[in-house]
Amino acid sequence: MSENAKLPPLPVGTFVERAVTWSRKNLFDGWFNTLLTIGSIAFLLWLIPPLIQWGIVNATLAPTIEGCAEVTGACWGFVNANLRLILFGTYPYEEQWRPLLAMIVLMGIICASLGGVKYPSVRKWIIPMWVVGVPIIAILMWGGVLGLTYVQNSYWGGLPLTLILSAIGIIFAFPFGLLLALGRQSNMPAIRTASVVYIEIIRGVPLITVLFMASVMFPLFLPDGVSIDKLLRAQIGIILFTAAYLAEVFRGGLQAVPRGQFEAGDSLALSYWQSMRLIILPQALRLVIPPTVNSFISMLKDTTLVVIIGLFDFLGTVKLALRSDPAWTKYYVEGYAFAAAIFFLICFSMAKYSAYLEKELRKGEQR
């Protein structure tokens, strides 16, 4: 902070000289920092070379149990041999191009929606993309029309399931959460109370209890003869849960819109819904984009909990593959590392993008 006040001296000297100055300042500044540096380097030396030895040098990709038994390092062969099972679960083998395509479509729409925040030319296509995209994904996954064979959703699994549960979860939670947020801000006591009670109850309990409720209690709620399957129940549970969190995100956005904007709407004699649609929401929603992306990231991580109620999402299929043959069971480190790497890639890149968006949005305010 105070460094900003005095400009840093321009780098001078040869590369080596500059490197020495830099490391003096950043690594060996006083005895305590020197100690920390030496400790950290020792830690890295202890961690990294064995990790490379295990993960790359001594590892194998051979997709057989025998091949894995021969090496001392990681058995990536486990992932290699079970890749289709891990990625797509028990979806019929010949039809697995369909979830793959659905996943690509979904990823494409998600990326375009995220990019649309930045580029206005893409922005107007976001809603049409979802309106067209979701049915396409549904047709690809379920089939039954256009010559595609029907695949029951109890066979769905793997990465497509994880992405579908979280993306559909957030899309459907969006309007519901918005209504809840507006309800919480409302002047009408009954509507306000109902919204607050819903939001606080859902936010006060863990997701797993909502999923249990969805999987055990929903069947009891329905009239005789009507039943919805496990996947749909989990999806509804996720939507109900996410809506409460999104409502709080939206409330933050609504509260950040200055009071004068509401009054401006009133003085133009706009109705409540007109002034919301034309004045308040465009401003509020722009502000909540980064926290909404963060909600999506938590959602993506939290969908792994559907394993507990017996669905095979991406984490579930890794466990399934580990159990598929007792000989594979001991390669859990490789399996979990693979799943962790995929989750990390998706979550980390979205988190970075959301942080970037936040900075961009703030830029506008600072003018």
């Binding site: 109902a194 009891l220 709620f221 507990i308 979990y336 962790a340």
Partner: protein
């Protein structure tokens, strides 16, 4: 717009349409409709549920809590056997949840603070390492981490026969960790009571010291005095209790280890997983808390001649706490709620025990309502406490 008409003394009585256009009437109407819809939906669901339950021959009510549970629970902080009733089983689960949450909260605060401070270090390599830790573990689902630790512990540590002994008396085996503990004695109960009394005494001394400092400006070495009071009271109780020295030391007997205190692999997996995951969030909270205090505050304290350690305690920390407390509360609540994932690795927490209960008795609604209201209660209690604390810490603007 009906109002101007009335203002001009229009004799026409209000028509039905006028009523509909009145903002207040509309508000009431909307609310009546909303409540009506909620009640209707609720009634529909309840009637369906009762109907379905009747068909499945499941009786409603909490009577099952008095029945014999007839299942074992791996670890319990109170007396429990398969002969105990369901209520006791659920209490065991709740205590296990509280145990892992409290320990997790303490540990994740410690670790999170270290990494949060390390991310602001002037040392480049320390900063990068801390960033790598935070970014890695917060972007991997916590359940995956739990599964990983749960798979790792039994396979990474040896069979009890050749247990590792990193410290004398501490054993590491595939069945968890064993610690030597003092054999139960009345003296320890006495020490607990003494500790509570000591805390009350410290509170009194503290308020007296504050009053004196406000009146005379004389500071009082509260930390040392508090420590002295606490240690003195507890040690005195230990002596009065007869100073027991008997220890229960874990040792191999037959095929298993007897004695000592066993920390199960399930508990360790849940504790490590939750701690590591939540500590990354705590680190971010700590970092933003420290960054939120402007440098000018340090400089102001400096120019008043306040010592740096005092400035940290009296100027910087109170301000960063103000920023950090609400998000920290959220993280503690998240950790407590995430402890419900214990069900996935077989640690007998509240949800896990309720799940077993639910499967045995078929009382799904009752079991779910019990654990949901307990979590809700825990959350509400924590938020109430934190709101009170926050109000106490909040900026008092004139």
């Amino acid at each position: 717009m009906s109002k101007p008409q009335h203002a001009h003394g229009d004799v026409r009585s209000k028509s039905f349409v006028d009523y509909l256009n009145d903002e207040n009437v509309r508000a009431v109407l909307y609310q009546v409709i909303a409540i009506g819809l909620i009640i209707l939906a609720g009634w529909y669901l309840v009637s369906n549920t009762l109907n379905n339950l009747e068909k499945q021959n499941i009786s409603t009510g909490y009577g099952f809590l008095d029945l014999e549970a007839s299942f074992e629970i791996g670890e319990s902080m109170i007396d429990y056997s398969a002969k105990s009733d369901y209520a006791t089983a659920l209490l065991v689960g709740l205590l296990n949840t509280v145990k892992v949450s409290v320990l997790g909260i303490i540990l994740c605060t410690l670790i999170g603070t270290i990494f949060g401070v390390a991310r602001l270090s002037s040392n480049w390599i320390v900063r990068k390492l801390a960033t790598a830790y935070v970014e890695t573990f917060r972007n991997i689902p916590v359940l995956l981490q739990l599964f990983f630790w749960y798979a790792l512990i039994p396979s990474a540590f040896p069979h009890p026969r050749d247990a590792l002994e990193p410290l004398p008396g501490v054993l590491l085996t595939s069945r968890g960790m064993y610690l030597p503990v003092p054999v139960a004695d009345n003296a320890y109960t006495l020490m607990g009571i003494a500790a509570i009394i000591a805390l009350v005494v410290i509170l009194f001394v503290k308020s007296w010291a504050k009053k004196r400092q406000d009146a005379t400006g004389q500071p009082f070495p509260m930390f040392l005095a508090g420590l002295g009071i606490f240690v003195g009271f507890v040690f005195l109780a230990y002596l009065i209790g007869g100073a027991p020295t008997e220890m229960s030391i874990p040792a191999l007997k037959g095929f298993n280890i007897r004695g000592g205190y066993n920390i199960s692999p399930e508990f360790l997996a849940v504790l490590i997983g939750l701690t590591v995951y939540t500590s990354t969030y705590v680190a971010e909270v700590v970092r933003s808390g420290i960054q939120a205090v402007p440098n000018g505050q340090w400089e102001a304290a400096d120019s008043l001649g306040v010592r740096r350690s005092v400035a940290l305690r009296k100027v910087i920390l109170p301000q960063s706490m103000r920023v950090a407390i609400p998000p920290l509360t959220n993280q503690y609540l998240n950790l407590t709620k995430n402890s419900s994932l214990a069900v996935a690795v077989g640690y007998p927490d509240l949800v896990s025990v309720s799940n077993t209960t639910m499967n045995q008795t078929g009382q799904a609604i009752e079991a779910i309502s019990i654990f949901m209201s307990i979590y809700l209660g825990l959350s509400l209690l924590t938020s109430l406490f934190m709101n009170w604390f926050n109000k106490k810490m909040a900026l008092v603007e004139r």
